[in-house]
Symmetry: D2
Subunit: 112 residues, 4 copies
């Protein structure tokens, strides 16, 4: 699986084969997405920032799986809503580049 | 911007130019990610599932921007942790395919 | 345990006895709180709204426990920050009553 | 407003006067609750743990309002589901006291 398009195709098939399309409204998928995001947060809740940068291999593999879940639901939702995530990210970054000019915000916390 | 790799490169540069690398610990990025996920959820909180499938164009454009934000933080975090999201998603889907065989779970709610 | 004040006292003692005060920064507690909120959301993610109003007894008991966890972290955090939750809620409701006059917003979705 | 019971009464009336009961399914309220929890997290996302312990007065007042919102939705949801939050918290703490005996977990991160 090499592209987001291929991922979306597979997710469509996965849901169809299980008759899960009935559960996959954008509303429900937004809930599933935030639940997975929280499972990611859970790994970091009691760590210091420094510890979070040097995760033990086992934790890193768990974190990777939670990130995969977020990624999966985000792409499933994007597919249903007809959203191109790479293109949306490109436009958001152009917007952010204007909103936070490097020389003005340098070293100040990201307020996005 | 055509690939996830290109997105990661741009996010790296964006943070570097603003001296934001100091804020971008995995711990902090997991918080930023869930905050954006919640801004996505907010759009759907009072909608019925049917309404969430037929968003007005204006809401859809806002939803798209929140999804872009989640996507951006997810890719930024993946870059810092050395995680390949497409590959992690592929492996997670293979795992899910075994865990939820189509003939067993058909029509029952996704329990991921 | 009859009052919020008693709950706060017990939470303080619970953390002290376990030497958990070192983990309980407001930052970390906000993360723990949202993780518990997501465990609550997880129970509802694939349900219809109607189903969410008629939970099976077993699910209701699990939901109750997740709500207890959110409540616990919220009170722990309030204690550390010197916040009186009942008083803060009272003031917020007075603010909301002015912001959303009943005759203006009747039947329109809560936009808080 | 001195008690949780009084808060619940007021929340009921607030929703009734605005005809918002139609939006207040447990599913939707769990979404509203996590959205408010995320607004709380947002205040802390780029802070160090030390900074989160010494919030400027203005930030503390904003944090207080977000906590009030979480508290409001939690109590509204508890009312609809017939849950007594103080009693549920008491039982959860008794459960936690057995699950995490002080002498065993002392100084190890809270794994709730």
């Amino acid at each position: 699986m090499k592209t987001l398009d291929e991922l979306r195709q597979r997710l469509r098939q996965f849901a169809r084969e299980r008759d899960w399309e009935q559960f996959h409204s954008p509303k429900n998928l937004s809930m599933a997405l935030i639940v997975e995001a929280a499972e990611l947060v859970e790994h970091f809740q009691w760590l210091t920032q420094e510890q979070s940068k040097k995760l033990p291999e086992k934790t890193l593999r768990e974190v990777e799986q939670e990130m995969a879940d977020v990624f999966i639901y985000l792409n499933r939702m994007a597919d249903l809503l007809g959203i191109d995530l790479l293109d949306a990210a490109r436009r958001k970054m152009e917007h952010n580049a204007k909103k936070y000019p490097a020389h003005e915000v340098r070293g100040k916390a990201d307020k996005r």
